[in-house]
Symmetry: C2
Subunit: 281 residues, 2 copies
């Protein structure tokens, strides 16, 4: 997926938010904004949204001097999600179809994302997702594919969402899983510390893409990650950035995501806000 | 009010929407976007949002070659609002306080605005506004001020909203009113033809600011308008752009507006989405 002109307003809004999160004073915020407006004018129209976000958030980190503007928000996300964990575990335990409920919860966790609209009510969102039909529902195919796979590569998305992923990892356990985070700050994406805060290490080996940007940028990922990615018999990919960078990578991929922006929704041929558990093509 | 960094994402979104409304092809849309990003880099930080919007929408009109990108949307707004007119007239007629109901309807009409979020459900919004309290309620003061004024200057906002204004003008009638529109296309602001479509000429003399931008830019308004503005004993100003340019012009002004963006809401010390009938200071 490429960066559409429709994406620009969102990138500009992120610039404003991230500069504020970074604690920059107003002249610095204005300087950062001007740098980003300049970068957007020179943008390669074929770059993916995560490549563009990489460029912009790297600029923001450099110019504000804050190496991790989203750190506090990520910690809050972890805490908020961990508070819901006992309740969610009970939801899975008492469900007639624990696997599907765990998949739905993993999708529900995808609401934790400060990029598209900065506010959300976590518990309400979880209840909402559990009550709505999946717009694309390849859950049975995912369950069947899991039976046939020796191990699984699980591409994480945001901090806090990691807690929701844990519920699905519990269902996949004891099948080996490699849970892939980012090696350094990239918006509010999960890092090793966020995966550990969620207790992911009880159910999976934690690895990283080797490059501190959202999604996967193959040209910059580490050789170790690329080997792992190439070898994986089954890949579960969470969230929009992973969809944006992996959407044309074949049927061993399953995307668990909420279509939170109209550009992605259109690309998925799904209504805005849809809950998606879709096998790749 | 000045153009805050928080406003930039909205201006960029408007650029995308307006280029599409103008029917521009993608290379033209990209060219327009780059021109606007460049203009934002060079923006005087003390310009008001309507001055900035003027700069941007003038660029869009020039570069797309479409003198009125919002024409079709304005016509649709007029039609949609006129469809609701008999129902709204009955609401006023059957109200225990027809004046306040008419004021509320004039505020409800302010939802017709493609700038802040591009979609709305008109009848639902009207019902919603009628059911919610006004966050600032200077309706009694407005009614008293009307008693003491010989005539009224009414600053219109968007096309379609004009139909809602008509209900309030009916209440003010036969006191003379000058209803002020824009002399040429400025986003979806009402022009003479939109005021006529709403039947405003039955209740008011239709005048214009003399300059084709949203709100009032005093440096560019016509001498005729400036004379009228200076002489007006009472001014009713609709919508955000009028608030942004007239908010510090004294107690002969009354603002009827919905606080549809967080910047305006903060400036008004009101929650986002508030319904406002506020006397100026």
């Amino acid at each position: 997926m490429r960066t559409y002109l429709e994406c620009y307003s969102c990138l500009v809004r992120q610039t404003f938010s991230a500069s504020q999160y970074a604690g920059a004073d107003e002249p610095t915020q204005r300087h950062v904004m001007n740098r980003v407006l300049g970068a957007l004018q020179e943008l390669n129209p074929y770059s993916t949204p995560p490549e563009t976000a990489d460029l912009i958030h790297r600029l923001i980190r450099q110019e504000t001097g804050n190496p991790d503007p989203y750190r506090q928000l990520k910690e809050k996300s972890n805490r908020d999600a961990l508070e819901l964990l006992p309740w969610m575990e009970e939801l899975v335990r008492s469900s007639p179809d624990p696997f599907e409920t765990a998949v739905r919860l993993a999708i529900a966790g995808n609401i934790i994302d400060f990029a598209p609209n900065d506010t959300y009510d976590l518990r309400k969102s979880v209840e909402n997702v559990l009550s709505r039909p999946l717009y694309k529902n390849d859950v049975a195919a995912l369950q069947a594919a899991l039976q046939g796979a020796n191990w699984v590569l699980y591409m994480a998305d945001n901090a806090g969402e990691t807690v929701f992923d844990r519920l699905l990892l519990e269902q996949i356990y004891p099948k080996p899983v490699r849970y892939c985070v980012k090696p350094g700050p990239a918006m509010n994406d999960a890092l090793l510390e966020d995966a550990l805060a969620a207790g992911i290490d009880r159910y999976a080996e934690i690895i990283s893409t080797g490059y501190d940007a959202v999604g996967v940028i193959f040209e910059r990922a580490s050789p170790e990650f690329l080997d792992t990615y190439a070898a994986a018999p089954l890949i579960i990919a969470k969230g929009m950035a992973n969809y944006e960078t992996l959407s044309e990578q074949g049927s061993r991929l399953f995307f668990l995501v909420q279509a939170k922006c109209s550009v992605i929704a259109e690309d998925m041929h799904a209504p805005l806000g849809s809950l998606i558990a879709a096998r790749g093509t």
